[in-house]
Symmetry: C2
Subunit: 533 residues, 2 copies
């Protein structure tokens, strides 16, 4: 029994069931990969929900909650993981599924299920889009019965204030639905994390998601006008205010709280008129170093481009068709009000002064005439590579693929990058016998970049999960040692805890723990995420 009539997401790809590759397609891919690597790989048969023998639920919902609580295999298997579901699904590994998956349809139902959890000390896990890559929604193994609360029925834009350009939006709405509901009014939130199609507003707020804008308004934080959150102790709601200096910001305690303090139900968000003026340029540089120097100068000139994404030579070659020696800087401006010709011109001038190459006719300015911008050439190739597709065709063939991301001040960046690459490559060699590593800047600040590293390789025989852990540890240790943050926008979850614990002030953790004890006295909300009880 499905709780929703909408297309169902896949148990094993980052996408919908309808996008899953067929078994035949996967067999074909296994053959071609086998040929390329000179080994014999077999595409595993992936169990369906019906095939699974899950641990019997340890609790049953009372009749009063039964209408929105589910215990079928699909619901429990799906909610066992976040975006790492594939690696578990192909082996049918669901050792610790939630006992109940609730889909409350309104605040009264949410209050009822959370009270029930609170009264019985059942662990409650708030679930948005399940796009976490850091085990942010994985049930802990040692906490007894688990109730996962999926917010997907909170899926509406409730109110639009066109004068202030703000909207009251329910937290469980997925990215595309949110934009669909704003579009008829001429507005957009314009927050496009890579997970956009499969993540929700509440998830973005709870995890400090990084969005569309590469400069100035980088995190969802900047678009939050006020929040409404249910805690085990009751409701927490802030005033709609454009700005305030009244004490530490209540919203900033909600933003990034990763479900440990409460469940966000709605927020007033700053929205925008849909941009019609655009300007784009892809500027190449003779080296990675020349590229990031130029990027720094443009960021510090405070032109605030919407896009300022730098690709290292490896990535520029792989995803934007460049020659492997040159870095690519993608600069874009956008506006609902005015031509961006001047701004792109200034940015290109700074880029050229720092050694960048671009022909005048490659600077594309669209003054609302609908001329294609950024969809051709190197910029377009990159755009296509950036948008995640369903994937999964190589599932179970032993391909390693992962990412890690951080931020660091400019003064430390060159040594940071060198050390992180050295340590990560060393780990790739030791653990996988080799691999590839590349880097891009997803966001850029006046005082430093947010670099995003992508690696690949092939698992060796043995415990693949241990191999993943070792690689992740090597990269994370390097980031910590060199002064970065364990995450710029992937959140902490359970996976990043050891490094987060080194990074945050100890007394801040104590203060947060005290705050949690106040709001969640039974410590039922997402235990193990961010802090220990």
């Amino acid at each position: 029994m499905s709780p929703s009539s909408r297309p169902r997401r896949s148990l094993w790809i980052f996408g919908f069931e309808s996008e899953e590759p067929t078994y035949e397609q996967r067999v074909e891919r296994a053959a071609s990969v086998s040929q390329r690597l000179g080994v014999t790989l077999t595409a595993p048969r992936i169990p369906t929900a019906d095939d699974l023998e899950l641990r019997a639920p340890r609790i049953k919902p009372p009749d009063s909650l039964a209408a929105f609580c589910f215990q079928d295999n699909w619901e429990r298997a799906y909610h066992s993981y976040g975006a790492d579901r594939s690696s578990h699904a192909i082996y049918g590994e669901y050792p610790n599924p939630p006992d109940i998956v609730a889909h409350p349809r309104d605040e009264a139902e949410l209050e009822a299920i959370l009270s029930w959890c609170s009264d019985n000390s059942y662990c409650a896990i708030p679930y948005g889009g399940g796009s976490t890559v850091v085990e942010g929604v994985t049930p802990p193994g040692d906490r007894g019965p688990i109730v996962t609360i999926d917010m997907d029925r909170f899926d509406r834009v409730l109110e639009i204030d066109p004068i202030s350009r703000a909207a009251r939006i329910q937290a469980g709405i997925y990215g595309p639905d949110l934009e669909d509901q704003l579009r008829p009014h001429g507005f957009t939130l314009r927050h496009f994390p890579q997970s956009f199609a499969h993540s929700t507003l509440g998830g973005w707020i709870a995890t400090r998601s990084g969005g569309h804008y590469a400069t100035n308004q980088t995190h969802i934080d900047d678009f939050v006008e006020s929040t409404r959150m249910l805690t085990p102790r009751g409701w927490w709601e802030s005033r709609r205010l454009p700005g305030s200096g009244a004490g530490p910001s209540p919203d900033r305690m909600v933003i990034g709280s990763e479900g440990i303090l409460g469940i966000i139900t709605e927020a007033w968000m700053r929205i925008q008129a849909r941009p019609t003026f655009r300007a784009t340029a892809g500027v190449s540089f003779p080296s990675w170093e020349a590229g990031y120097e130029a990027t720094r100068r443009i960021a510090q000139a405070k032109l605030w481009p919407a896009n300022l994404r730098l690709l290292d030579p490896q990535l520029a070659a792989g995803s934007a068709g460049m020659d492997g020696t040159r870095a690519l800087l993608i600069i874009a401006f956008e506006s609902a009000e005015m031509s961006q010709r001047w701004a792109i011109g200034q940015a290109v001038e700074l880029a050229r002064a720092a050694g960048g190459l671009i022909a005048d006719d490659e600077i594309v300015v669209d003054d609302g005439t609908g001329a294609p911008t950024g969809r051709a050439g190197a910029v377009g190739a990159w755009r296509d590579a950036f948008i995640p597709r369903g994937g999964g065709i190589a599932a179970g063939l032993g391909m390693v693929g992962g990412t890690f991301e951080t931020s660091i001040t400019w003064d430390r960046w060159p040594a940071f990058d060198a050390y992180v690459r050295e340590q990560t490559m060393k780990a790739l060699n030791e653990i996988f016998g080799g691999g590839t590593l590349n880097c891009r800047f997803t966001h850029v600040y006046t005082d430093g970049p947010a670099p995003y590293y992508t690696y690949s390789g092939a698992y060796r025989a043995g415990d693949w999960r241990e191999q993943d852990r070792q690689l992740k540890k090597a990269a994370s240790d390097a980031i910590m040692k060199m002064g970065g943050t364990i995450t710029h926008h992937h959140a902490v979850g359970r996976q990043h805890r050891p490094w987060y614990d080194q990074q945050r002030p100890d007394l801040f953790a104590e203060a947060l723990r005290a705050a949690k004890r106040t709001l969640d006295p039974a410590s039922i909300l997402n235990p193990g995420v961010l802090i220990d009880p």
Copy 2:
């Protein structure tokens, strides 16, 4: 015995002793005001520190702390108040002075004095520049011995990172000293609250000060890269990070904490190259309504002007020489890198489209040639009126002058403004038998303005403090009722508590209280500010 060889600040004007008007000047002013109002006013003689008979100190510092602890009349009287000192000083009212004023010279001395307070449960009040207008540093009357900790010896820029454009700066440094120490390196913090000359970096951070920029980077919050704070439980220090998504921001719990969680000792701050390109325009509008509609459109176009300050017709008449019917919008852009001709042109175009008037030759663009910008005409007149002078010449003559400020979303703004004016004028009439009221926008957001109201009048016979309280209550009640914040950048202190308590989520206050109990178990730090223990 003065703890410092620097010029001493005045006990009764907002400035230095050297700027105090003489008794003769004040007598002259009393005569001219008397003549104007048809009454007989006398300039009171203002007691000097030596004249005061303060309560004997209830405690003595131990020998180990004596070198930086002071108990003389001047120190104790001066640290009895913030920027409201004048109204008390003219009557020699110091019923509850601190018992000790400490000026620790380094972190070891700060640790020592805070430990001593902690061990003995003495109330400890962190003191920056003492520019608070909300009783943020006033000793509470019911807490026994008081130690005020003045951070003025923490007065250096410790380190400059020119690559990342950031600097490590001690918290007790005053605005002018901070800029003096950055200037030789070509940098500026460019945070200029109206209190700039008499406030400190630590005070700005603790109170979420509002600075130079009218849009985009409005509060000090945006310039904080990391913070270092001493709590009774020990040190709290965050990493230098351009951006992070790792849990709720630790810095955002420090920013706005108003001395109740710890004493900020230093911060890494984002600094900037000194601007050399400027552009300014003063655009007049046929009405207040036309002015704020234009301001909204410019803010929402995201040009991010450095200045976007709107003066209502009353204020434009009084301080910018206009005719009393037209509003004045001051727009300014600045940059260290490039001409701002295009930007000011776009802003003026939007302003004109919304009914604004400005001649082409009144748009002043300075492309680094040093041509005067914004120092002539209506804009220059406003600039001169904005910068606070020593004042005090009319002290004790019964003149009422005060301000209150807030922020509100655009959709509610017209009704908000009407109601706040109505209620405030009603109170001015009832309490003072009349008065004046005007408004300007100090900061502007895409979703709403930060209006700043200034009122004046004349005290009636009787308790002038009660008259102040009644006026403030009427204005604050109106702000609360209509959905604003009790403060956009003046902080909460002790004075704004009743309205702050209505505004913040109750559960946030509980969480903050729990955090404070963890960091300050004996509840010695600035009790009564923000929350009750």
